[in-house]
Symmetry: C2
Subunit: 315 residues, 2 copies
């Protein structure tokens, strides 16, 4: 692993779930001498100070990045161009600028365009999160054992990539270097499409006039409630993800719909073997995720007491 010397000054632009978790994890790991942060609202800035997770808060991004040797943009994708313009003239020579956005293909264009040549832009994406938002929702362990993808391009300074990799590893993450376009394709299926599907089914259920909302809520333990967790994620954040990763999402959505229509046909024509074949194949996927350390083995998401944890598939 590379030089793990702490950054002297870390600036976080945005201090919500991800930004505040970076602040907490950076402090836990002793990865930054000073942590400066900014946020759109006074209330959020005050909250970040009250929580004691940053050393200073600033009204503008320009003030926050002054003297910082690492700047991480932790705001919605739609804000990148404005932020780039506002910080461009205030960045320290040799600073590293990164972000945590869920789409990477456009970052060199939106965030990179306005930045001066004397800083190094390395787009990044921690594949972790919860359905909550705001500085009080963050916690130091959010990134532990999760992947943090960095998408430098061929011209990116290798030493800066090593330094940021060491920082990200210090936050608890496993680091992966990946091409930005590939990132967007992979995340379209593992993250963006699942969110879209969850939002959609919760919307469909909420709209039903033949079934009351009270009934949907009451009998949600039959499966529906699982989807409501990610359908409770930040609306503005996810709007920007779908607008930004439009092509890859449409591609994955096309495949999903095609498969769903085939399933619909199997139900209509009572093709039980087709259904059972799919359901048997998908069963193994969860175990592979658990084995890869990307999910706990708590049965029913740990909703039940410990004696329900034993597994089996007989009968």
């Amino acid at each position: 692993m590379a030089d793990a010397a702490p950054f002297q000054r870390l600036a976080l632009i945005g201090i919500g779930l991800i930004g505040s978790s970076i602040a907490r994890a950076a402090r836990r790991g002793g990865l930054a001498g000073h942590i400066a942060a900014t946020s759109r609202t006074q209330a959020t800035r005050d909250k970040a100070m009250d929580l004691g997770i940053v050393d200073s808060v600033h009204e503008t991004a320009a003030e926050a990045v002054a003297d910082a040797d690492l700047v991480i943009v932790c705001t919605h994708l739609g804000s990148y161009e404005t932020i780039a313009r506002s910080i461009a003239g205030h960045l320290k020579h040799g600073a590293i600028v990164s972000d945590v956005g869920s789409v990477k293909g456009q970052v060199f264009r939106t965030l990179g365009a306005a930045l001066p040549d004397h800083v190094t832009l390395i787009p990044g994406h921690p594949v972790s999160g919860t359905e909550n938002s705001g500085p009080e929702a963050g916690f130091a362990e959010l990134f532990d054992n999760r992947w943090w993808i960095l998408t430098p391009d061929q011209e990116t300074d290798a030493e800066a990539v090593e330094r940021l990799s060491a920082f990200v590893a210090g936050l608890g993450s496993r680091v992966e270097i990946m091409d930005a376009r590939r990132h967007d394709l992979v995340l379209a299926i593992t993250s963006h499409l699942p969110h879209l599907i969850a939002y959609n089914i919760v919307g469909t259920a909420d709209d039903l006039e033949t079934v009351t909302q009270g009934e949907v809520i009451k009998y949600s333990a039959g499966g529906f409630r699982d989807f409501t967790r990610i359908a409770a994620s930040d609306p503005e954040f996810w709007r920007d993800v779908f607008l930004t990763n439009r092509e890859a999402v449409l591609e994955m959505l096309g495949r999903f719909t095609e498969d769903l229509i085939a399933l619909q046909r199997a139900i209509r024509w009572r093709q039980g073997d087709t259904l059972e074949g799919l359901f048997t194949r998908t069963r193994a996927v969860r175990q592979r995720i658990i084995d890869a350390g990307q999910e706990t083995d708590a049965v029913n998401f740990g909703r039940n007491p410990a004696d329900g944890r034993s597994s089996g598939d007989s009968d």
Copy 2:
């Protein structure tokens, strides 16, 4: 609440996740003098005895139901007609026969047709479960505070319904009496469609040639892993659900697809307001489920440490 006097002899046909949980909860509540069970395989019957959750096991359903005053069928929907024929001549006069199947509209026909007039059939459905199967997967608390729907028809003996209701309440459940057709419509959206969607997206991801399976597993924490839980549910069980509740599932699937196509169009035409509008509306649904006691308030399904439990939506 009605007469809560225990049944003298409870017979469970099938002793998997649900059957074995009924055995455990009935024993916890002192609701049955003797618990007899049967299962298709010797291995499962042995397991049930080894676990000490039943008083006797029997090779055939006919033997298991002898002298029972409550018989609960806990097998897949596709087995009902065979079971009804095999137990018909062995049921005690005045016995109550129920089931735990996820589809109710057809039970009077499939299970009821062969039963003698001297027993009372009351179809039932506990809206609870986990992704695991088999007698070792069950636990006494599975039904606590979950709904258990009974779907008697107009001619069903009211006293028997009261008696079964008291038993089900004794297992920990909240009891709801509902029309069978309405049950099937409501569960199509709260349970059957969510399972179909989960199976489908896991299948789509598993099929992708442009993205490797390794990557799907690695980055599953971005949302995909949530879907793999219910896509790990019993294949044979769910095949029968879709074949049996075909019409209601096709109706709900039609609505879901229609809404999804509208979302797809909003992404293609970059209609950010439409996306944000839906995502904002769906956010509130989860809180209503938590408020109704049908879900815990553990953030990220409790995967994270306790300090990540605080909620908020500022930024």
